[in-house]
Amino acid sequence: MKLWNRLMCYCRRRSPWIFHMNSGSCNGCDIEIVASLSPRYDAEQLGVRLEGSPRHADILCVTGPVTHNAVQAIKTVYGQVYGPKAVVAIGSCPATTNVFIDSRTLAGPLNKHIPVDVFVPGCPPRPDAIVLGIAKAAEILAARGSKPLVAAAEPEIVGDPGENCVSCACSSTEVQA
């Protein structure tokens, strides 16, 4: 039984299937997710597969600053992912709502609605940061196992977003603060 659990943990770490969800993003981060699956970054080496159905996925990748319209959809899709599962917030928008902060059309940031395990800040984040974020989420997922879902006490923050934050020229520390 112990051996089976170790094997399961090993396999979970090596087979993160992701579902990508846009919650009002400008499409910048979505393009970078696709770029992280492209020949240059090739996330499939880590076993990453972009799935069409949230039922098949282990990791929910959310982009965008969470508009009012998207809140219910995010909750539904989060419920449709079967456990053990993890959530990666991709870009500065789901982390802080970025330049749209204080907009009356937004209900963000994302962790007000669902527990987030890994933040990948950046506007947009680099594809290698996204791959790193997915790998971190897979480790969290494997450690969490089939225990009932609890949000990570301290969400991971990966990547260095400062250098290519195109829309607001903020540094990584500012985005997090």
């Binding site: 094997l7 399961m8 090993y10 396999c11 979970r12 090596r14 087979s15 299937w17 492209s38 020949p39 090739d42 499939e44 080496q45 076993g47 597969r49 799935e51 069409g52 159905s53 039922r55 098949h56 282990d58 079967y82 456990g83 053990p84 089939s146």
Partner: protein, 311 residues
């Protein structure tokens, strides 16, 4: 009373179903072929691709996911379809006449064709029982596709069999190569991408249009069973072509090696075709099978009749 012959044929049948070419061989082979498919596509796209054990990792991970709560008759059916598909595909692999003198009976070709068809029937049923709109579209496409390619597929196999007056697989596998057989093999190869849901005929599980089609509501262990049945279908379908191509050997290990090597080549061929093509529309696909490849079937049937008349 159980006579010794019955016992020996029973043990042969069990060995074929459980050991070679059955489950003990077919399950690792299914994972290997799934890996070859993904790796070949990745290499064609200039990527490195998944590690060797990836389909195994995926399978174990899916077994460890939470199981969806399903209630009522619909729920029971949804649980049953992947299991039926896996057992049918495993049975089809077990029937392949890989080893010389491994038994078999008159009419096992018909059983093999039925078992090969069962997984796609299960996919159609699964999509409709999921009551998801994407699942239903996927199932409708699978049904239309199945009606189109099966005309050519079945006519090709049946004409090979009819020309030799036998429905026994081992007798067919030992025949000398003839133009009719090569014609039949070509027709079967044209049908395989549709049977295995590969590009350019990957309509039922078109990820970009209808998510995963009939599989859209499946998760966890049930999805693992679908992955496994897909892998076993790979082994059975490529194995059928491999046994038709392979010349007859008397040594069992040469026969097994040639079978594995030929299956591998066919998997590679199909994967490269899948990577090099884009998905066709459903009407184009149907037209392709009914108008273009039907010529194979007509030629095969005509030459089978000709051979019967000459004999």
């Amino acid at each position: 009373m159980m006579t010794p012959e019955i016992w020996s044929s029973l043990t042969t049948a069990l060995a074929r179903l459980l050991i070679f070419p059955g489950l003990l061989f077919a399950v690792p082979a299914a994972w290997f072929f799934l890996w070859v498919e993904r790796k070949a596509v990745a290499r064609m796209q200039g990527r490195i691709g998944p590690p060797f054990m990836q389909p195994f990792y995926d399978f174990v991970k899916l077994l460890g996911k939470d199981t969806p709560q399903r209630t009522g008759v619909g729920g029971m059916l949804m649980k049953a379809w992947p299991l039926i598909a896996v057992s049918a595909a495993a049975g089809a692999v077990g029937l392949l006449p890989v080893l010389p003198a491994s038994g078999g009976f008159q009419g096992d070709l018909i059983l093999l064709l039925a078992l090969l068809e069962l997984p796609s029937m299960c996919i159609i049923a699964a999509g409709f029982s999921s009551r998801s709109i994407f699942g239903e579209i996927g199932s409708a496409r699978e049904a239309v596709l199945s009606v189109s390619y099966n005309v050519v597929f079945l006519l090709a196999i049946v004409s090979i069999a009819a020309s030799q007056h036998t429905f026994s697989l081992s007798a067919l596998a030992q025949l000398p190569a003839s133009p009719l057989r090569w014609l039949g093999i070509a027709a079967i190869l044209v049908c395989l991408p549709a049977k295995l849901h590969l590009n350019p005929f990957s309509l039922p599980n078109a990820e970009q249009e209808i998510y995963s089609g009939p599989m859209v509501e499946y998760a966890g262990p049930e999805l693992a069973m679908w992955e496994l049945s897909h892998g076993l279908e790979w082994v059975a379908a490529t194995g059928l072509v491999a046994t038709l191509i392979a010349p007859a050997f008397t040594l069992w290990w040469i026969a097994a090696l040639v079978f594995v090597a030929l299956s591998f080549v066919i998997v590679l061929l199909l994967s490269v075709t899948a990577a090099a093509t884009a998905r066709l529309q459903i009407d184009t696909t149907v037209r392709f099978y009914w108008q273009c490849t039907i010529i194979f079937a007509v030629l095969a049937v005509a030459s089978a009749l000709f051979m019967r008349l000459k004999a």
